[in-house]
């Protein structure tokens, strides 16, 4: 049965493809892709209505050997999200396309059971009837009690938007691999522990049996063995064999990290990363538990017990839950990662892509973007600078669609993908078509699989799916993203080439099939489909719920870490970009209005969860996440471990993208401030504190929106907003003086969007001070909220303020006055138009960002035009250089009067930032001018 959406979608895209793409004004890499169905007048957000669930979610399912496929948990763990969507049914669907090789047992020619460290398989499948499309990530966990020692699981990202899955395949795959690695690492640890225990049991059993045999021998002096004795001997023999088997298994599982570490750097780093994570996160866990040395040793407290030598595989026993299978810490980490993924891919595809482009472009401007952008990005840049020296193991990376790899190709691909979703995973399909078959086979045979080829066959497969009428199509799979899957090399080496390759090949070209499930492509490995669906087993969902919840609370532990940008464009190419970029960026932001309604329900939802209604039991977990956050950020600076595999996570996070620079993690009081905005109570309760201090994506967006709103209010309310903003932009410290803390904080937060940053640290903004200011404060802070108090200390503060009046502009909130130098430029009026039509805070924020980006570009030009600063002809008169600079600023950059000072200040910051060896090591000097100040009143 061919369901309508499939046909409609694909044919339309074909039509669209024929239309020429008319966008000559901008270079391709800067243009924002248009919504492909816009010409049909379709509302891009109406697609969701077809699905039975309200928004994207993540489903973890297990193929239980007892009950068959069953859903375990969803993220977010909210029934409202998936609504009437049949999780059981969908679990069945997604679990039945697991083709990974998870063969464990006695392979021919081997005496002992062999563990295969199989790679995860990554499949995209769609269920057009349900309106659900999913990225499915299969993984296998080890369980000593399970059949064949394996428990197949899968994690699925389920979305109603097929394009989203296809477009974000690479990112999804990367993120899910991280989660999977985390699970598997924990699982190996738990499995090894289990084996140890089992070995002890067996050892104990053996001694007992030995003793019994000896007793029997002594008792039996007849010279022949009784049947009992023979039975005991057999039992002993089987125990011995079992011991050897288990020892072998233990050896295998223990040797895993070592074997893997021989692989690529990336993999080993991945291990370190995943293994380090629990120790960083574990505020509750035993430190020795996470230590490497006794990772696989079980706790000494274990007392062995007698076990029966017979196999204990039976179906009435309770299978381990997912949490038991993995270590609890790892499980929590995984949940956090999954919630992170969910957050990251939340929202419309259009929005995600725009954000990605935005970020990719922003990253190219690493010389200037620290000034007004999020400092988390500045962190990235620091990493990039470090990383640029060593050679990048690029062969491990899929060349396509990797945002980190090369921003420009990425952008191009996304544009193409809008034209045709079928081609979405493809690069240069036309050229590769001929080689496709050959390459696929070759890729399978050789250990190193070329992802490019894989993508090609994906594309073929998807083409094949066009006419298929099945309700589930596997639209694409991915094999061997060796960046993320540890076991790649191992897996492809140990798994013998099986006929599966051919079979999958055949399948992929099948266009019509009677099956309800059509597999178009899969990784060439053996499928293990359990055939026993017997005793029903209580679902693990209820047990996991609390963790899912917790994970949600803790998910932000990665927000501050940075993704790698290995192939960042070199500086030379950067020089010509900034001006154009601003324009496109700002267009994108300004016209991107419709995206707001979509994301807002999600945001409000999480707001409720994250900040306002915080259940008490979550606070511990959140606190933990908070710690992790800082730990990881620190380690990020020092090591390349985390950065190597990267966290495109947060970089893709739409809410993070919009995040204002002033909020994240600067200080606790920023957040107490933001909460006080909500609750209008400045005091923060102890249980709210951790959550509010948390730099959550949505809350930062809300924060920023509020900042924009307040800034807008300030501009409308005070006629002297321009000189005040000029003060901030030109690096003259603005002191906001007031009695009421909440008001001062609010205004400081609002104005902080205009404060240029020194470097990759927090903005030089101090929200609230009550002690007298010193000269060093003006060097450190560019925006200060100062308490006006009647106490002697307060007068001291005022006295200090008047003494240092030449370094500061003073905005008196109580008297509504401003004392600062004159401003007659044209820049700030554009930035802060009193009669602006912008009404929304976030819109205004974006407007500010775009104007500031333009300003940054000017500062960049001014800083890096060498003819302005270097004497051209030997000992040229310096006055000539000065006049050259002045005329450049005025004529070329169109700056008048005080605007020049702004650009000069920014240029100064750029120089400092560019020349300093260690970012953040040296504080910039306090620069000032001897200019008269004026008193402005309302």
């Amino acid at each position: 049965m061919i369901s309508a959406p499939d046909v409609v979608a694909f044919t339309k895209e074909d039509e669209y493809e024929e239309e020429p793409y008319n966008e000559p004004a901008l270079p391709e890499e800067y243009s924002v892709p248009l919504f492909p169905f816009a010409s049909q007048g379709a509302n891009p957000w109406s697609k969701l209505s077809g699905a039975k669930f309200s928004r994207d979610f993540i489903l973890i399912s297990e193929f239980s050997e007892q009950v068959g496929p069953q859903p375990l948990l969803t993220i977010p763990n909210d029934t409202k999200v998936f609504g009437t969507f049949d999780l059981n049914y969908f679990s069945l669907r997604i679990m039945s396309v697991d083709y990974q090789a998870s063969f464990v047992g006695h392979p021919p020619g081997s005496a002992y059971p062999k563990l295969n460290f199989v790679e995860d398989s990554k499949v995209v499948l769609g269920d057009s009837k349900e309106g659900a499309f999913a990225y499915v990530h299969h993984l296998t966990l080890y369980d000593l009690e399970a059949r064949g020692f394996v428990r197949p699981f899968c994690m699925a990202y389920i979305s109603a938007d097929q394009h989203k899955i296809m477009q974000q395949f690479q990112e999804l795959s990367a993120e899910f691999s991280k989660a999977s690695e985390c699970l598997k690492t924990g699982n190996r640890k738990a499995f090894a522990g289990e084996l140890e225990k089992k070995l002890k049991d067996l050892d104990y059993t053996r001694t007992v049996l030995h003793m019994e045999t000896e007793i029997q021998k002594k008792a039996n002096d007849k010279g022949f063995y009784s049947s009992q004795a023979i039975e005991k001997a057999n039992e002993l023999a089987s125990v011995e064999k079992s011991i050897i088997e288990h020892q072998d298994l233990l050896k295998q599982i223990r040797s895993y990290p070592r074997r893997k570490s021989k692989g690529s750097d990336l993999c080993s780093r991945e291990t370190e990363y995943t293994q380090d994570r629990p120790s960083q996160a574990a505020t509750t866990s035993d430190p020795e538990e996470s230590a490497d040395t006794d990772r696989y040793t079980c706790r000494p407290a274990y007392t062995p017990k007698l076990i029966k030598a017979k196999s204990t595989k039976c179906f009435d026993k309770k299978l381990k839950t997912l949490e038991e299978l993995c270590d609890t810490d790892y499980f929590t980490q995984t949940l956090a990662q999954l919630s992170h993924i969910e957050r990251m891919f939340r929202g419309d595809l259009c929005y995600l892509l725009t954000s990605q482009i935005d970020r990719a472009l922003l990253k190219q401007q690493h010389v200037t973007n620290f000034l007004f952008e999020d400092f988390a990005e500045a962190d990235d840049r620091a990493v990039v600078r470090q990383e640029s020296a060593p050679a990048e193991p690029s062969q491990d990376r899929p060349p396509s669609r990797s945002l980190e790899k090369c921003p420009i190709p990425q952008v191009l691909i996304s544009m193409g993908s809008y034209r045709s979703s079928v081609e979405s995973v493809l690069i240069k399909m036309e050229q590769e078509l001929g080689d496709e078959e050959y390459k696929e086979v070759e890729g399978t045979e050789s250990g190193s699989f070329d992802p490019q080829d894989n993508l090609d066959c994906l594309d073929m497969d998807m083409k094949g799916s066009i006419s298929s009428g099945e309700s589930i199509e596997v639209l694409g799979t991915e094999k061997a993203t060796s960046v993320l899957s540890k076991s790649d090399s191992l897996g492809s080496l140990t798994v013998p080439l099986s006929p599966q390759v051919v079979r999958s090949k055949a399948v992929s070209h099948r266009t019509i099939s009677e099956d309800s499930i059509e597999v178009l492509s899969t990784c060439p490995s053996e499928a293990l489909i359990p055939d026993d669906f017997k005793a029903s087993y209580p679902s693990a969902i209820n047990e996991e719920e609390s963790y899912a919840d917790d994970g949600k609370g803790a998910i932000h532990f990665q927000v501050g870490t940075s993704p790698p940008e290995p192939g960042e464009a070199e500086e030379g190419s950067v020089e010509n970009t900034p001006l154009q970029t601003d324009a496109s960026c700002c267009i994108g932001k300004e016209t991107g209005g419709p995206q707001v309604p979509l994301s807002s329900p999600a945001l409000t939802l999480s707001d409720e969860e994250g900040v306002v209604s915080t259940p008490p039991q979550r606070s511990r977990q959140k606190d933990q996440g908070f710690h992790v956050d800082f730990a990881m950020e620190n380690s990020n600076l020092s090591s390349r471990d985390h950065s190597s595999e990267g966290f495109p996570a947060y970089e893709l996070d739409p809410s993070h993208l919009l995040a204002s620079q002033d909020d994240s993690k600067t200080s606790l009081d920023d957040y107490s401030d933001s909460t006080s905005c909500v609750s209008s109570v400045a005091s923060t309760s102890s249980d709210r504190m951790p959550s509010s201090a948390h730099p959550t994506g949505p809350s930062s967006e809300r924060h920023k929106k509020r900042a924009g709103q307040n800034a807008l209010k300030f501009i409308r309310q005070y006629p002297f907003a321009h000189p005040a903003i000029y003060s901030l932009l030109s690096g003259r410290t603005l002191v906001v003086l007031g009695e009421e803390e909440a008001m001062v904080r609010k205004l400081v937060t609002a104005l902080s969007i205009f404060v240029p940053n020194y470097g990759c640290c927090a903005k030089p903004v101090k929200h609230w001070v009550s002690s007298p200011l010193h000269i060093s404060d003006f060097q450190k802070w560019k925006l200060i909220g100062l308490q006006r108090a009647v106490s002697p200390a307060g007068t001291g503060a005022l006295h200090a303020l008047s003494r240092y009046s030449r370094y500061t502009s003073v905005l008196d909130l109580d008297r509504k006055t401003l004392r600062c130098p004159l401003y007659r430029g044209t820049l700030v009026p554009r930035l802060a138009d009193r009669r602006t039509h912008i009404r929304r805070g976030s819109t205004y924020y974006m407007h500010v960002q775009s104007v500031l980006a333009q300003l940054c570009a000017k500062a960049f030009l001014y800083t890096f035009c060498h003819h302005l600063h270097l004497p051209t002809r030997g000992r040229e008169a310096e006055a000539a250089a000065a006049s050259r600079q002045a005329s450049f600023l005025q004529l070329s950059l169109g700056l008048v009067n005080e605007d020049v000072k702004v650009v000069q200040y920014l240029a100064e910051l750029l120089r400092l930032h560019y020349t300093q060896e260690h970012p953040g090591a040296i504080q910039p000097t306090l620069r000032f001018d001897y200019v008269p100040s004026f008193l402005y009143k309302i």
Partner: protein, 531 residues
């Protein structure tokens, strides 16, 4: 503007009877210091700044720490922790020309009755110091520590020619570079007994040697209480066994204590001894007068002959260059010793610049009189004054940026009021002579009347110069103890607020940073010069 008027309104009450404090508005076009860097390392008052070389200086203070800084970047290079109490004197012992070792030695004396010689290593050897009583010689920190003093060493002096150094407390000790005590003297205070080696007569507490300077003929002058004692150092000869210190002469013309002496080297010699004032300086002068000068507690400046130590010239009414008609006012002023006491002075070929109380005075050696003054240069006592060296380096790439180059007579003063002011000695236009800003005159007619007198008098006395305020540096929140001027790196000030501030010429620094940027660009291979 506003501040001006407010300031003008406030001042008549406190200062109307004298000339009002000259103020300058926020617009200071001639002030080159548009950039500052706050250096924090000390935990107590920073009292001393010593220049080590072209770009380094050391700071020392009451917290007993010596910190070596890079004047260019403001980087803390070294921290020397050896003293347990406040540092009372610091001096550098230059390396010997012959010696291969280029390292400078820093001598510090402290109230804990020790003197520490520490090595000031070359930048390449710099590493952070670990705290300890004896510092590692290899990494070049504390070389040696002498603690056999019976009292606090108040002053240190280095005699390069003899390669010895002297410490003055309640006795005078002579040491060589290896810290061997060569000779030691104790002497009576006022009894006039000649002191000689190992004479163990105790000093009175007020009669510690507060200052020491070297003068020709192997002599040193020590300020002990009200006396100036001239000692002759006798180098070991074949006849005598060792070094000896002989007291040659005592000059008893003083009425008050002399706190310290500072030695400055040069070609020709004038000795200046200033009464009550902390400094005694060795001056050279183009006129071949061999003389030295002392100033009295009540504002006397006496120029002494260097050879026979007789008074050559005397300026009595130093605090008031114009002979006042009513002597009553003179008496009134004398009641406040701080107002007229000389705190510091400096000199150039022609003039001596003296910080007297809150004012600044310029005394011309040839004319033997005060040629310019600013009676209330600061709100409170001027602690340090320095003349900027003449700069004619037109070739310097950033010369055009700083107006300071063009003028050759700039003077910097710092004061207990926490400000640093930059003055320019200008030849006075006969008609436009306005020593005080007009803005203040508008406020009070009374002030106007009174203030017009000195102007008239000055003209009568043919004072052709005036000190004009061209800028002030406000940064410290407490008394600015001292400052140090680096020709290339700006001004360093230290203060009782525990801070050191590095003042820089903003435009020049900006240009340097720009150069650095393009250098780095070039290093990275990213610099594409336009054809």
């Amino acid at each position: 503007m506003l501040r001006w008027l407010i300031g003008g309104g406030r001042e008549p009450q406190g200062l109307a009877e004298k000339s009002p404090l000259q103020t300058i508005g926020e617009e200071q076009t001639q002030n080159p210091y548009t950039e500052l860097l706050v250096l924090k390392a000390h935990h107590d008052i920073v009292r001393f700044l010593v220049q080590l070389d072209d770009y380094r200086f050391a700071s020392a203070g009451d917290d007993g720490i010596v910190v070596v800084w890079n004047a260019q970047t403001g980087e803390k290079l070294l921290e020397l922790n050896g003293h347990t109490q406040k540092i009372t004197a610091i001096i550098t012992l230059p390396s010997l020309e012959a010696c291969e070792e280029k390292n400078q030695l820093i001598l510090t004396a402290s109230a804990d009755r020790t003197v520490i010689i520490s090595l000031n290593p070359e930048p390449s050897e710099i590493a952070m110091v670990t705290k300890g009583p004896v510092w590692d010689c290899d990494t070049g920190r504390q070389v040696q520590k002498v603690s056999c003093f019976q009292s606090t060493v108040k002053c240190l002096a280095v005699l390069r020619r003899l390669d010895v150094w002297l410490s003055g407390g309640n006795d005078l000790c002579m040491w060589n570079r290896k810290l061997d005590l060569l000779c030691k003297t104790s002497h009576l205070s006022d009894t006039g007994k000649k002191s000689s080696l190992w004479l163990s007569v105790r000093f009175y507490s007020m009669n510690w040697i507060s200052a020491l300077i070297e003068i020709p003929k192997n002599c040193v002058v020590a300020a002990v209480g009200k006396e100036l004692i001239i000692f002759r150092l006798v180098a070991p000869t074949e006849g005598s066994l060792g070094w000896d210190i002989l007291e040659v002469k005592r000059l008893l013309d003083h009425q008050d204590n002399i706190l310290s002496l500072v030695n400055v080297n040069g070609k020709l010699i004038v000795y200046l001894f200033i009464y009550y004032v902390k400094f005694c300086t060795y001056i050279h002068d183009l006129c071949l007068d061999l003389s030295f000068v002392t100033g009295s507690h009540v504002g006397e400046l006496i120029i002494w002959d260097i050879l026979d130590w007789t008074v050559q010239a005397c300026e009595h009414n130093f605090w008031d260059p114009s002979p006042q008609l009513d002597t009553q006012q003179e008496i009134k002023l004398c009641q406040k010793p701080n107002d007229v006491s000389i705190h510091h002075f400096t000199w150039d070929e022609e003039n001596i610049f003296v910080a007297v109380g809150r004012g600044l005075y310029v005394y011309n050696l040839q004319m033997k009189r005060v040629i310019a003054c600013q009676k209330t240069a600061h709100d409170s006592s001027v602690l340090h004054v320095a003349k900027l060296p003449n700069r004619y380096d037109i070739g310097s790439p950033w010369c055009f940026l700083s107006l300071i180059c063009s003028s050759d007579r700039q003077l910097i003063s710092c004061s207990e009021d926490g400000s640093v002011r930059i003055w320019e000695l200008r030849e006075k236009q006969q008609l436009a002579a306005e020593p005080v800003p007009t803005g203040v005159y508008l406020c009070s007619e009374r002030v106007n009347k009174q203030a017009s007198h000195p102007v008239k008098k000055q003209q009568e006395n043919a004072i052709l110069f005036s000190l004009e305020l061209i800028g002030d540096l406000i940064g410290h929140s407490s008394s600015v103890e001292m400052f140090l001027y680096f020709e290339d790196h700006g001004l360093v000030t230290c203060s009782a607020d525990h801070l050191i501030i590095l003042w820089k010429n903003g435009e020049r620094e900006s240009g340097l940073r720009s150069l650095k940027l393009f250098q780095k660009l070039e290093e990275n291979g990213d610099l594409y010069l336009a054809v």
